[in-house]
């Protein structure tokens, strides 16, 4: 049975590779790289050509972020990101539903050693600050709200491993998560009110490469970072709890 399956999958794979190599379905070789539509994102010329964009000099662009991937994620296709955040929220709801919500915290089987207990508290702050740096500079450097939030959740995981229990602190995370998500939708409505389109960038774009640039993008990335960080910490906390048997 397994052999037939392997043969079938191999046949599909060979067919796919043959198709890819011979027919070139994505026009990688026939279409010049410079003629792709997505080159407009690189030169910030979706709504009209602004000329050459220079780091540290260009102003008043349609999007002033130095990081083009972040510009697409949070500005050009911000609506997709709203959906993405919603998917993550629903998955957090699903984890909460499956693991029985607010049960009692499972004690870890091992007792953390002295080194782990105090080393975790020492490293915790550094990881937290690095996560915050990551989502504050998301429009300038690689990174952004989602990796930053994941790093913040990693700092919470380090604390759990060091023997710290969450207790009542999770309620604050829940409130933070809800507030950040609502503010994200609200920033979209602000764009609808002032500029006529949902999620439109209403703040001035500033100089490319400066910390205060790219209009509403840093604000949205801060909100996403806080939301994802508190959400993933909440998911970790649900995994540490068990259902209360009635």
């Amino acid at each position: 049975m397994k052999r037939i399956l392997i043969l079938g999958l191999m046949a599909i794979l060979v067919m796919g590779i043959y198709n890819y190599a011979v027919y070139d379905p994505y026009q990688k070789t026939t279409m010049p790289f410079e003629e792709r539509d997505s080159q407009a994102y690189l030169s910030r010329s979706v709504n009209g050509d602004p000329g050459e964009v220079v780091y540290g000099k260009s102003t008043n662009l349609e999007n002033g972020a130095a990081n083009t991937v972040a510009a697409i994620v949070v500005d050009y296709r911000s609506f997709d990101t709203l959906g993405e955040v919603t998917v993550l929220f629903i998955s957090s709801l699903g984890v909460a539903f499956l693991s029985g919500g607010f049960g009692k915290t499972i004690r870890l089987k091992h007792k953390p050693s002295f080194l782990l207990q105090y080393g975790a508290r020492f490293v915790f702050g550094i990881i937290l600050v690095f996560g915050a740096y990551m989502f504050l500079h998301g429009h300038l450097t690689p990174g952004g709200g989602f990796p930053g939030g994941a790093i913040i959740a990693a700092s919470a995981l380090v604390l759990y491993l060091g023997g710290e229990s969450s207790g009542e602190k999770m309620k604050a995370f829940k409130i933070l998560e809800g507030a950040a998500g609502s503010l994200y939708v609200l920033s979209g409505i602000v764009g609808l009110y002032f500029a006529g389109f949902f999620m439109q960038n209403v703040l001035p774009s500033g100089i490319v490469g400066h910390l205060f640039s790219a209009g509403i993008m840093p604000v949205i990335y801060i909100l996403i970072g806080l939301k994802v960080g508190s959400e993933l910490t909440g998911i970790l906390d649900y995994f540490m709890r068990e259902e209360v048997s009635s």
Binding site: A21, V69, V73, V95, L98
Partner: protein, 112 residues
Amino acid sequence: MMELLSLSLLFLGMYGLITKHHVLKMIVSMNVMEIGLNLFITSLGYQESHLAPILSSKFPSSALNFVDPLPQSLVLTSIVIGVGTTAVALAFAKKIYMDYGTLDLEKIEGRL
């Protein structure tokens, strides 16, 4: 060449997802599949000797050759959704272990 490698990674994950009975191994196979697909999408925008699409003080102008940023941002979305699905899958695995005491799907076949 990266496209073909990632395609084989996709099929490796699909094989694992179909044949394994252990829940955690199925989750790992699901992630391997997802990584294969993400690599495939990213490699569609790759071009030899082009730069990462980020302006910096070292590469300051948009007139330089950058790789395609659109597949990368789509993959960023897909990675986050992958994290969500993996979290739900792990919650299912925990639920199965708490209810049946094992993660092997063959052993709990009759009791479901």
